[in-house]
Amino acid sequence: MGRYIVRRFLEMLLTLFLIATATFFLLEAVPGDPLSQRADKLPVQSREVMYKRYGLDKPVMERYLITMKNMAKGDFGESFVYAGQTVGGLIHDRLPVSARLGIQQMLLGVTVGLLLGILAAIKRGTIADYTVVAFSVLLISIPHLIFGLMLQKIFAGNLRWFPTIGWPSGDELWFGGWKYTVLPTLTGCFSYIATYARLLKTSMLDVVNQDYVLTAESKGLSRGRIIRKHILRNSFIPVMTQLPMSVAMCITGSFFIESIFAIPGIGQYYVTAVNNQDLSIVLGETVLLALLYIVVLFITDLLYVVVDPRISMPGRKK
């Protein structure tokens, strides 16, 4: 186990290095640079001074080495486009906002989704099943943007139950200011509901037809016990595979939601940074998200063993 974790850790460092390198050179390969639009309509004399100031007058390899050296020290540098913004500040100010939004969406969405999935599976072929399926298809087909604007128009505009835009800050960053979070959370949770309801239903239907369920039934076990002990647990593998994806995506996946509700999160900023070729921020966020993803994947690997003891830990002696 210890050796496995060390190996995974080293692999992680290598992966992050490769991702950072690839990101750097991909951004370099795109025509233009973070200053090109800003500098385009400047008098010629001012342009050179500006490029010098941001260190963009140096050759690519030299800048690559400088960037990597600083990155090893945890310094991704400052945004080229938004003066004064750094990746450190981003993690400090914006990550919690996106994290809370993502967590709320997931908690609500995954819970409701799983419950609906169970309902659809055990009430297979009934009105309840069809309703859940139809509902899921509908929810997954409507883009976030439309949902958000619709909810905003109805609940903030016409009914005035909730504020139109905004997000709790300060002391209420993690807890409190709920009225601001209701609409964005709802907007985002629909896709989780749809995804997980369908996923769990399909997976449960697979399991229901397995021999061991028949055995359990013939043993005379109660229906509730069969569902809990035999069906649910075995249907959870696909859900466990999907979850880390959702966790990693929940931070960046709320781009539209953040934009509609003016939520100062990381997702919106990431997209803007990519559009602006804001090298330091893109690099920092990419590495951060990659790190998050790798860690979540690692935890999932460990969890697989918990859910299904038949899956063995790599490196363990058989």
């Binding site: 795109v30 025509p31 233009g32 640079d33 090109s36 639009q37 800003r38 500098a39 385009d40 309509k41 400047l42 008098p43 010629v44 004399q45 001012s46 342009r47 001074v49 500006m50 010098k52 100031r53 941001y54 938004y82 003066a83 004064g84 913004q85 100010d93 914006r94 604007l149 905003q152 128009k153 903030a156 505009g157 005035r160 139109t164 835009i165 905004g166 997000w167 800050s169 953040e258 934009s259 509609i260 509700f261 003016a262 939520i263 100062p264 999160g265 919106q268 900023y269 559009n275 070729q277």
Partner: protein, 562 residues
């Protein structure tokens, strides 16, 4: 057009009546809080006046020697930080006597040393300020910025605490119009140096000498300004709080405006049409003003004449330009703006009145002979082909229009231009649409085009700022199609040191005529305007075009009821 005039008249009438009812003094009704809520798509995250950060904030939170206002007299400046100014006989030495009651928000007086520091900072090369060229007329400034001179030799100096003196290389009548621009605002040396490279980035390190102070910022969400009690004209500043919200979507902004969560709205597309109707019905106010920008087609003027090889001929350029029915295009594509028949925008004033009204629209007469007349246009194009010795029939000619962006408006723009040119001339127009500005720039710099859509938004109120863009390589060799005309350059050069306004006007006129009538280096399409919708309870909100883009400090709220 007619409808617009009626609207303008009606609005003027409404304003006149309401101002009569209000009277001259501000008497806020019971229950009105002096809070103004506005929307923007992004904050300029830059609080450095020398860097001309977010203009709205610069205007509201800082103060310079002069302040630009737009009122019934048009765009003009008034004294702000300066109480009086002496100009030497030869026009090269400006001595500003500063008001002694001006203070920074921390209570420290604003002195001539702050101006000296701000100005010298602007041309210090290590900061690389993009607006350094605003000061190049000052003795020693350009040399300092380019690293050949010392900052000590820059002749912008504090003679004492309240006297600031600037010496120009030669007399320059455009100099004063630059003084409303924020790069020439004062900066506190003690604070800027203590902040180091965080200056202008970390707003908590800022002090303000304008009507408002920034007091809260949540990035990508909200910015709050509150009245600056230390401002020298605080007595006439009515608003207590200004809230800015980041609202990306127009539909969200519309919801908020309808709810009264926003007091002022700038929007686009269908919402403009909706709110114009509301304004017509008296449910809100609409303020339309000229904005100093001109947009149109830039031709590839480089040797070789672009991808088609035809762009070197003035008749061909004219034929393309005159295909485009300006009125139709702006009505169909934008639903706002004004048709343009010259380069310098009508918002620009010269010698106290609109430059445009003094010299008229340059290409309109010739344009009227051709517009909507395919035979005449094709004949003109053919003449151009003959001059070039090209025998290809017009139906086999392909012109390449380079563009980028995917907004609905941009698509409509591209399609309109393609259709109308094809229809009128019988040539093929190939749309070369690239993904973003950087790609556009790459294609443009490689010369892979015949024409592209571009223009200029002026930084200071003088025709020269527009005209200088077509001076050989003034803004790089590609921005304006690589246009170069020795006679044009000579004319602009002859302005140096010229102080006689009548002569300047003649030179401007001649230069612009070369650009428009002789060379047709640019096909102007529209003059920009600004449309702002206000709730009926917002009073005295003005928009202006230079330095301060909004003058909120005389605005007040009356009749909102909360």
């Amino acid at each position: 057009m007619f409808r617009k005039k009626i609207l303008a008249l009606a609005l003027t009438a409404v304003m006149a009546v309401s101002s009569l009812m209000v009277g001259s003094s501000v008497s806020a009704a019971e229950g009105d809080t002096q809070v103004l809520n506005l929307r923007t798509a992004s904050f300029g995250n830059n609080y450095d006046v020398q860097d001309m950060g977010w203009r709205w904030m610069m205007a509201a939170c800082y103060d310079g020697l002069y302040r630009n206002v737009a009122d019934q007299d048009g765009e003009h400046f008034i004294l702000a930080g300066a109480e009086s100014v002496d100009i030497s006989e030869d026009g090269t030495v400006y001595t500003f006597h500063l008001r002694q009651d001006a203070k920074w928000s921390d209570g420290v007086p604003v002195t001539a040393h702050d101006y000296e520091y701000g100005w010298k900072r602007l041309v210090t090369p290590e900061y690389g300020y993009s607006y350094a060229s605003f000061m190049f007329g000052v003795v020693g400034a350009q040399e300092c910025f380019e690293g050949t001179g010392s900052v000590d030799d820059v002749k912008a100096v504090a003679l004492d605490d309240y006297t600031f003196q600037v010496t120009l290389k030669v007399a320059d009548p455009t100099f004063e119009s630059k003084l409303v621009a924020t790069p020439l605002y004062p900066t506190r040396q003690d604070l800027a140096e203590a902040a180091g490279d965080q200056w202008g980035k970390d707003w908590t390190l800022c002090v303000y000498n304008g009507p408002f102070c920034m007091t809260e910022l949540v990035e990508d969400n909200k910015m709050v300004w509150t009245k600056n009690p230390e401002y020298w004209d605080a007595e006439n500043t009515h608003l207590e709080t200004i809230n800015w919200y980041i609202v990306g979507e127009d539909s969200t902004a519309a919801t908020m405006f309808d709810n009264g969560e926003l007091d002022i709205l700038q929007t686009s597309g269908d919402y403009v049409i909706k709110y114009r109707g509301e304004a017509d019905a008296g449910n809100m106010q609409l303020v339309v003003s000229d904005y100093p920008g001109t947009i149109g087609l830039v031709y590839n003027s480089k040797e070789g004449g672009g991808l088609s090889g035809l762009m070197s001929n003035a008749k061909i350029r004219k034929a393309i330009s005159y295909c485009i029915n300006r009125e139709d295009m702006i009505a169909g594509v934008y639903g706002r703006y004004k048709p343009a028949y010259s380069y310098v925008a009508p918002a620009i004033t010269f010698d106290g009145s609109s430059y445009r009204s003094q010299v008229g629209e340059m290409m309109q007469e010739e344009y009227n002979q051709y517009v909507g007349n395919p035979e005449a246009l094709q004949a003109l194009f053919q003449e151009g082909l003959d001059e070039l010795g090209v025998t290809t029939p017009m139906s086999d000619i392909t012109l390449t229009y380079l563009t980028y962006g995917t907004s609905v408006e941009q698509q409509a723009e591209n399609e309109y231009l393609q259709q109308i040119i094809q229809q009128m001339l019988g040539v093929t127009v190939n749309l070369s649409i690239v993904g973003d500005y950087a790609l556009f720039q790459a294609e443009r710099d490689a010369g892979n085009y015949d024409m592209f859509y571009s223009g200029w938004f002026s930084d200071y109120n003088d025709p020269l700022d527009f005209l200088y863009t077509f001076y050989t390589n003034a803004y790089g060799e590609n921005n304006y199609g690589g246009y170069s005309n020795a006679k044009y350059d000579e004319l602009l050069d002859s302005l140096t040191g010229e102080t006689d306004n009548a002569k300047r006007l003649e030179i401007y006129k001649e230069a612009e005529s070369i650009l428009m009538n002789e060379d047709c280096a640019f096909a102007p399409i529209y003059y920009s305007t600004k449309e702002v919708f206000l709730q009926n309870w917002v009073k005295d909100f003005r928009t202006s075009s230079f330095g301060a883009s909004q003058e909120m400090y005389i605005t007040y709220i009356e009749g909102r009821g909360n």
